[in-house]
Subunit: 307 residues, 2 copies
């Protein structure tokens, strides 16, 4: 089953306690595409880049059955650039530079050949842009997943509320869930957020794992305890790509299968953080993924009897 | 199988964002005894209280097969008193008052009738006191669990190191694990700590669950996502009581059964935080515990195939 993935493709400069890199390919759409392409194909990408975006990166994505018809290349302009520095705990970071460049004019068009895709991944973008993509779809998809952030809750809340009424799965982190709901308790907050439209809510807690809420059900997926988190950039997007990739591969949007999809997403995120940028997502094999999934099974597996 | 539980029995004054109570029974030993007594008996308590400690509380414990022969009651003196205030996130708290009172002279004696107990729970006390208890045991126990805190890492490190060489399971929180190991990564830190003596290390992460390390294995138990954490006081001790209570009940100290014991401990902690003090631990029935254990199964249960 096909996925449409909408998100940035960009350059990042990253500093972590373990190292520093001045320019590496990044962007939420890039991470989603690499992660999802391990699980399913095609991934139909919608994005915008400048003429500085490396041809080899586009070729690498094509080799993995990522359809780039929806990726605009703007001559004479530069790609989106983000620069950030992580603190020791790796859960907090300072944004140093945000050069929107081509992203300032991003007006995504869904190519005719993309129509009919069953799974839609809307990366973190201005909510009005996310809405525009949904409105262009001529066939109702099986599942729409939306990622967003605190910035849009503050600057575009009405559009965001409208978007939430059009999607199936909302993907945010714990502080964003608290901000969006006005509740400190994530359980109370989740109830309020589900009333805004989405049938499923995923709350990402970084190294503390992720929670999936649906009706009165809750599922918890741990993050894999790693010796070192080298670079957390893109982990949330790799999670999203693994999540929707698994759903597309299995074509099953039951709560039970969303639980599994979250484990697959967590596995992809655990690879992502091992090196700078999307590097690890390019190196890993299906066997690596299977081994890691088994590690997740071992991590949480227990037997219990009644007391 | 019998448990010896060594720990404080005290009064607390607690302020949380949800309420305030000026005086309630507390102390690590109290919480351990209430939690463990739901799972096994007898719990053989070693503690010290003043003449102000309520007779009804002692009767309540006796009714639950908690043996109080090892609890000294000091005439003319007051019980240990702790007062603290929790912040909104409930993971951090300020200690307002610590009146050691009788605890200043605590010199625990293991009664003859306690000898031969298979499971030993050493609550957070001065490491030299914990060592004294171990040295009084005439029969080598099956498993010794030790709880400690950052204060002893700073003020009594040599004694603590000695104690770590005499026990089987160390129970600390994430910031204590980082302090004890000098490693930010909990995985790296766990390896170093296991080299200090204990065969098992449990790292408690509060609302983010708990990790169990043993050789090259790691197990993760989530905390139950609750609508409200009313009062976190004693949650770590209720966890310890549930943990050792399950081990004593099943008399099995395999890694697999320690995993289950951590889930049982997490369940007892999840009850503990629902009301002030040990109140909820007194109210719950075996059926309540079974229902909660099933909630933990549902919380983390997933099916997965190879990709």
């Amino acid at each position: 089953m096909a996925i449409i993935s909408v998100g940035s493709m960009a350059f990042d400069a990253i500093e972590t306690p373990f190292g520093k890199i001045d320019k590496i390919v990044g962007g939420s759409g890039t991470y989603v595409a690499y992660a999802a392409s391990h699980l399913t194909s095609p991934v139909k990408q919608i994005s915008i880049v400048g003429e500085d975006f490396p041809e080899e990166e586009l070729d690498e994505l094509k080799k993995r059955n990522v359809d780039l018809e929806g990726v605009e290349v703007i001559k004479g302009k530069k790609s989106f650039f983000w620069s950030g520095k992580y603190h020791l705990d790796m859960n907090t970071r300072d944004t140093l530079i945000t050069d929107l460049n081509v992203l300032a004019d991003f007006d995504p068009k869904v190519p005719d050949s993309y129509q009919g895709a069953e799974f839609i991944m809307l990366g973190n973008l201005m909510p009005s842009i996310q809405i525009k993509v949904i409105e262009q779809l001529t066939v109702k998809p099986k599942l729409i997943v939306l990622d967003t952030m605190n910035f849009w809750m503050e600057s575009a809340f009405e559009d965001l509320k409208k978007a939430l009424g059009m999607i199936d799965v909302l993907l945010i982190n714990d502080s964003e869930a608290r901000q969006l709901s006005g509740e400190y308790s994530l359980v109370k907050g989740a109830k309020k957020i589900l009333e805004l439209g989405p049938r499923f809510l995923i709350i990402k807690k970084g190294e503390h794992g992720a929670l999936l809420f649906h009706e009165n059900h809750v599922f918890f997926a741990p993050a894999l305890p790693l010796e070192e988190v080298f670079d957390p950039t893109g982990a949330g997007d790799a999670f999203a790509g693994g999540f929707i990739g698994h759903l597309s591969r299995t074509s099953d949007i039951s709560f039970e299968n969303l639980k599994t999809a979250i484990i697959v997403g967590s596995a992809m995120a655990s690879f992502c953080v091992e090196k700078f940028g999307p590097q690890r997502l390019k190196e890993i094999s299906k066997k690596d993924i299977d081994i890691r999934l088994e590690e997740f099974v071992q991590l949480v597996n227990f037997d219990i009897d009644l007391v």
